[in-house]
Amino acid sequence: MRPANASPPTRPTLFDLARAWIIVSTQSIGGGPSTLFLMRQQIVERRHWLTHRQFLEDYALSKVSLGINLVALAGLIGSRVAGAGGVAVSLIGLLVPAAMITLALTVGYTLVRDSDLVRAALAGAGPAAAGLTAGIALTFMRQTARRGWRASIDYTYAAAVIGAGLFLGVSPLIVIAVGVLVGAAFLRGETARASGDAGT
């Protein structure tokens, strides 16, 4: 197997790189999992710019990024295959087309939001979105929790946070600060799983 820091099998031009990201950005309907799937398909399987192992190593690293992990992953991939220019092209290529589609849809929604039909649709789509969001967060917890007996510590902490969020109205800033301290003290071990599971 290639060492993780080996140079990529082939080196793309910035134009080719942009084209791959635009495909990911416009076809990845369905959020994190489908975006990740398309990234791997385009970058590793179809164009061979990274080995599978390099992709997984960058994926593991992206899991410790602040903000949107897949944006960090795009930046790491861009940096590996084409340096600083690759970072810029990857971020713009991943974000701008998808953001423009999101913006267009949002503008469209705003134009028709006062119609009875759209109000009724949102009365159903809203709760579905809330449920999906909660489900995604629970899945994220499951992927983050350690395995074996230590999982009970992780889930107990997560349950305590849900309770604090629901009933104490604690500021997110405080909960995150507590998370850093609790994490450093009690939740160490098992680095991010590089299994290619869903990211957000």
Binding site: L66, N69, L91, L103, A125, A145, A164, G179, V182
Partner: protein
């Protein structure tokens, strides 16, 4: 102008204090709703729109930015969302090994469990303000629980769940 800078900083702070796209939601909701820039129904609409459009889930911030301040607000939200991940790219070459250490994993695990827990709590309170779940119409409650189960199961396309929810809304919500 001050308003735009303030809005940018709201989005930047939420992104810089979270791990994962959805994780910024509790902070964004607190900052945007309390300042009156965005309403709670708009947050639900942004989440729904974000689920039917391509790209990372975290791009619902573009809708929130638009609701708060139009197209320029959407641009501010997008730029703010891109900056914290760039920080990782900048330091990855120097501290790659440290970032993959068990210690860093513990810190990240603490932050992810914290923000995920808050996202669950936020989702519940978006559905039922004041936590009065009994006050929510049964069909809406069933939709939310069903959507959560489908998200955990992971086989159904989120866009399909949202469109299905909208169809149920048109059937029951008028």
């Amino acid at each position: 102008m001050t308003g735009n800078i303030e809005l940018f900083l709201i989005f930047l702070r939420a992104a810089a204090l979270s791990v994962g796209g959805m994780a910024a939601l509790p902070q964004l909701r607190q900052d945007l709703v309390t300042t009156g820039l965005v309403t709670e129904p708009q947050i639900l609409a942004a989440l729904a729109l974000g689920k039917v459009t391509p790209g990372p889930t975290g791009l619902y911030v573009v809708s929130l930015g638009y609701f708060a301040a139009g197209v320029f607000g959407a641009l501010l939200a997008l730029v703010a969302a891109a900056l914290p991940p760039l920080g990782l790219v900048a330091v990855a070459g120097i501290v790659r090994r440290q970032l993959l250490s068990p210690w860093a994993a513990g810190v990240v695990r603490g932050v992810v469990l914290s923000t995920s827990g808050l996202v669950v709590a936020t989702s519940i309170t978006l559905l039922a303000p004041d936590r009065q779940l009994l006050g929510v119409p049964a069909w809406q409650l069933a939709l939310a629980v069903g959507a959560a189960a489908l998200a955990i199961h992971g086989r159904t396309h989120p866009g399909v769940v949202i469109v299905g929810g909208a169809a149920v809304g048109i059937a029951f919500g008028r």
